[in-house]
Subunit: 208 residues, 6 copies
């Protein structure tokens, strides 16, 4: 009994020293450059470290026949400050995750089902493309343009992980054609012709 | 034609500026604190960014009925310097990945098949345990003791990702019982009795 | 006089550019992944950078005959954001700092008095143990299990420093036996027998 | 005299402790993830910290009427390991630095001469465009698509700085059209039509 | 039309995943060790990424015949969290930026006009001095004492960039002579004689 | 027996995954920006993690009546890559560690014996000075000018720790007066008079 008391006092003394193993995001507070402020440890529950939204395929009934379901800090507050996030890719037949970058993270992709042709282009303009089967892993270096495309006739899926809780996602077509960036500037900075730009702006809801 | 030449010269000029998007490890060279030296970009192939060793279950015919198949920089040189690595967990019925830590990385686990009870203990000594189904994700903060255990009657498997190309892996039982750490020191620093320590040293091949 | 005015105006102009040499923690505000928000520089005093709690031995009248007195950001707000913290170890005769890890930092130990046997186990399961005299220094790599034990007949003490303002401290026995982690899970993940686990839970105040 | 000797011995003693303020690159040695190995401090000269290649405009007689002159680690070995690099932009009338990213760095641009319309697109697809005059500064967050275009009738120039010694440079058109990335993959991942892709591949020297 | 709707829903779904490309500082909120909290992305405007205060020379009518105009996070909130800042140096004839350090950043200097003699001293006490012309670049490693001095007969100017949004600026003479550091301590720690110290304290407005 | 074999095979399998908990410096190889290349783990011994050079006072028979004994990576290769280093300060009566900076690290000081007046000056030119007794700790933010002076009549000593294996050490007087920096430049950048500069150059062995 006495031993227990001694030990417990030791325990509490030492525990005082132990903070911030984790920092579950308080999404209502303003972000900082290092992520969201933490909720108090006393309010943290085991379920804060679990995310259940990647268990079912995303809705691929769309123009790209594909879906990206993110589990970044905004969706999965438990990984705030831990330097990791994840997402699920679903590719229906003919599905494609269009050319895109993650400005703040490298990515590891693990194929769950189907066959996926994935690739990236380096700063030196070299092309690295591979067709992957379930269980194969591919790594995409930070910030480089890359894509994933269904290489088979059935659905394909993958889980991807990033070394940032907020990797960002910049889809090339959206960046060029789905906003108010003036057609003249798109033409001038991509060498595409105005007709092509205007057509894609039309499809993607862009203006200007 | 002239245009092409102009552009190509521009291309080569600009490409000179572009180095080290990646650093595929030269495993024959001495490591540095930041990882292995890189092989020359000209020798890098698309296959360097793909790892195929996680597609099949590891051998679980062992005392823990489980297997960890790592894809760290030493196995998957393409992720050297990119701040990420991955591994596959296989848990036969009654399988368990024993209590362990990764000294240098946080971890995200995605359940592929079966049901897994996973948990970790914080510095403040709080316990966070959850039983996960396929598609569920759990995050384990850096350096904390954690475990995974098959919660079902069939096999289970998961893919895990770390935010380091060299996360390390310290298995508690091996650290305590599978080396030459003297029994007296193990007893003195864990409060286990000598009989228990010696028995486990026997099972795990430890000495001292 | 005129010179002074010119210089002072220069001084104030330049000083505007100079912020956040330090970030004394406002412990009342929610933490962020990078530490606590700062109090305003105007409220910072010289005494904020001094900690006086390590000058006297901690209370070693307990089951481990030892004490750890931390000076982490929570106790010593002046080192918030500076990437360093410190602590004092006191070991009465037979005293031991049990097997533990710091999830977020490497550690340097400097022996003040007495003789200390210290050691750590690597990810590769190698054992590094040394007995140290006053003035000797030992370094413990981040996140690895390590311990310190009084190697002499008189009291021993040491000052330790970490390269994080919040290194964390996970004591193995407390993580396993001093909380609600179910006996079944402890047994399953450590290969200890239930009797041993229950006994240590009893001593350390654990449940389950 | 005696004082000098004492002091000099102190000096040398202390200087031994002082290494690696800088790490001038040995470009002949294999890179590491943190940069090139250093040449010995004894071989370092003041001129290693100076780069003279940005003093004159780059050659803008090309299809983009523009030039980027980099001073990255490969051109300016003195900034290896220091986390900074720089470059000069020259834009003849109608000149444009086409849509591009720097995968590993944020960028600050300072306009030297002329008028430049610069902009970037965020992950959230928002457009930030401004027309800048000499002396104005614009910052481009890491990894996002951005561009610079001559907004006047005379030549324009700028100096840009990156917070990496190897920021990388990925020019969108080159990544899509100036390599062997198959037309089918470009079409599939960008929604451009094959005719457009083939035409630009022709202009830019791409194949496939 | 339907396509557009599908795509837009995709767009918004994906955009949810995209946060914190940037973190424009809310200067009214308490700083954190990683910088200021961010204003909400919806309030961010293109002008937040532009700073116009470096376009005109600073006022050099002062004792040093020189001016430093900073664009650090406090002046240019758009670069908060981006790891970069910039400043302008103006040196009238005989102007000098006195011996100083930036405790938290390395620096790249680009000469705009005139001729500047710049130099730094390493930890190993070596001196690296060069006289620079317009367009020449010099790099100053983090934390080392350095200076810039007008080497010509006309005005000189430069733009400098730091790899921190808050590099700090410690001017040697101000640190020693323009505050309340007691003369006795200055004498004792610099080997200057008290007369010199008191004289400079007088000129620079110091006390003690 | 069979169990042991199974476990051992598991052990070796898992151990393969575990690298670079530490990186004991190979001082004969060229440094990299992240530190020295590592010696092979198989050659690492427990004594590599111990440094014995701080146990006895440094020689204070010199002009400053003080000594700094460093245990940086060059002296203590075991802490290469671990982000920490340490040193011992000895101050005879009237001893002083003159005004200096560590360009690459913050510092924690723990007083061992005697009484020490220590202080630093911030970028904002504020002075933070305290007189410390044994057991008191003071923290010095990265890169700022600071000093330690014996405040008592007997010897004093302290152990200091840095959050870098290579913190650097720039002593103000040596940087200004103990090298070839021309008197004219020292005068011009410090406002000291030439007589003072020449005198100190004479004492400290400087030229120019």
């Amino acid at each position: 009994m006495l031993r227990t008391i001694f030990l417990l006092s030791l325990l509490f003394a030492l525990s005082n020293a132990s903070v911030q193993d984790f920092c579950v995001a308080n999404l209502k507070r303003a972000e900082t450059p290092a992520g969201y402020p933490c909720i108090r440890p006393i309010h943290v529950k085991a379920t804060d470290f679990v995310f259940s939204g990647l268990g079912t395929p995303g809705n691929t009934t769309n123009i790209i026949n594909a879906a990206v379901t993110p589990a970044f800090a905004a969706q999965f507050p438990g990984l705030n400050g831990l330097g990791l996030s994840t997402a699920r890719l679903d590719l229906a037949p003919k599905g494609v995750i269009p050319m895109h970058t993650h400005p703040g993270a490298s990515e590891v992709l693990f194929v769950l089902t189907g066959s996926i042709t994935a690739g990236f282009v380096s700063s030196a303009n070299a092309v690295y493309v591979q067709t992957l089967k379930p269980g194969q892993v591919m790594v995409f270096p930070q910030g480089l343009l890359h894509f994933q495309i269904n290489a088979g006739k059935s659905s394909a899926s993958a889980v991807v992980t990033f070394n940032s809780a907020n990797p960002g996602l910049q889809i090339l077509d959206f960046a060029l054609f789905a906003n108010s960036l003036p057609t003249e500037l798109v033409v001038g900075t991509t060498f595409l012709d105005a007709t092509t730009v205007k057509k894609l702006k039309g499809v993607l809801g862009g203006t200007g």
